[in-house]
Subunit: 246 residues, 2 copies
Amino acid sequence: MDENLENPGRYLIAKLNAFMRTTSGSEDAINEMASRRVAYADRGQDIISEGDEPRTVNLLLDGWACRYKMMEDGRRQILAFFLPGDLADLHVYILNAMDHSIAAITPIRYARLAPKEFEEISDAHPKLLRALWWESLVTGSIQREWLVSVGQRDALESVAHLACELFLRLKTVGLVQGQLCDFPLTQLDIADALGMTQPHVSRTIAELNRTGYVILRRGQLEVKDLERLKKLAAFNPNYLHHLRDD
Amino acid sequence: MDENLENPGRYLIAKLNAFMRTTSGSEDAINEMASRRVAYADRGQDIISEGDEPRTVNLLLDGWACRYKMMEDGRRQILAFFLPGDLADLHVYILNAMDHSIAAITPIRYARLAPKEFEEISDAHPKLLRALWWESLVTGSIQREWLVSVGQRDALESVAHLACELFLRLKTVGLVQGQLCDFPLTQLDIADALGMTQPHVSRTIAELNRTGYVILRRGQLEVKDLERLKKLAAFNPNYLHHLRDD
DNA sequence: CGCTATATTGACTTTGCTCAACCCAGGTGG
DNA sequence: CCACCTGGGTTGAGCAAAGTCAATATAGCG
């Protein structure tokens, strides 16, 4: 976290590097953005709720969050997981009301950027603007791939795909050490993301762990054989739109 | 179609009116866009395929299309349906390769806009640009709602929700007459959109028709009781982000 | 140490899938 | 004009995947 405070935009910078070479000018701009209007939320807490008028672009600095929708009868669909460096709804201030909520999964630190600040910075750095555009298109692409998971993949494939995706996304922002990364999702989070029930997630994780390709447990994910995991998940990395595979 | 040829952007104009009052200036700009580089495709034909480098922004002028992904083993997930007036991937020319394909469901007419033309027009009409932004955000919102359908709704709710959505979207562009609209989807299309199998779609449509709220058949959809249909589908119109309900 | 969260497991049920036969309507060509 | 073909659509029987409900176990945490 120390390094993080000096270089608060580092995860976003790392991610954009998967798409372009950031210049030191844009890096400074990102760090500038990321050090203004910093806010905190505890696990479980909404940082913005369905129906609210969106006023800020949120940049996640530390921790995990999720986008979700709640149905009247209490069913919850998680629509996306946010990892450090992810931006929530770049242009959403065009719309009048949020159609979903965003909540912290772990305690988080995030920057709440006012549209005006955001525009100033992107006007001054057209290359950065382009990169941010790319990031929001990739977010859309991930959203579509999730529909493929929920619509077409069976339980084992789905869980494997999610593990694969999160591992690779964490890797691009530098949050993987060797084969290990943090994994704070509960089985209920996974269930609500993949359209399954929690007991079935439990059984499916057990089955996945039995393959030996990964060790997935609350708190930590270890990927022992990424290639086989990808194969099992029918994982095609194109949708992440990285310049190179990593 | 006659009126359409004089006023080729009419469906898009009608749609944007759900968000803002279009000025005659922007209407002319839209019609201008929509009359350049017009192309045709037959039913079943891809207009752009996964892996292709995207070169144009596509505006659907007539007919229905879909965005889809194919898995190696032949499973297909339909990600979105395009109706007249819909734009495909406004900013996709930022990315190097399509991560999905777009195919005609009926014979279609569409405009293939070069990025440069597109930028000229939007530079000249900032209000229009904002409206187009809105339309792409709504497209993203629809994408998310589909995940709720596939992840949380059961078969009957899902099919009802899809009927509801398509009916309302057609209504916004003026393609509903009374309670009737075209409905060219096959049961296999619906199945691949909702993550079901075709025989189960058949049974589910039969069950839905038995409620009397709709008459859904190949070619045509008749909505007899929209309110009850919405209720059955757990349909919350907020995600369409219209200024007023219609 | 005990409380609360989460995870595991078992027995049973249900939804939706599979496979396959059959039906039906529209379009084409003899 | 009719026979046939083809692309949907319907239906049935049996099955498998995943859901439900509930009891039990486990693990952090205060």
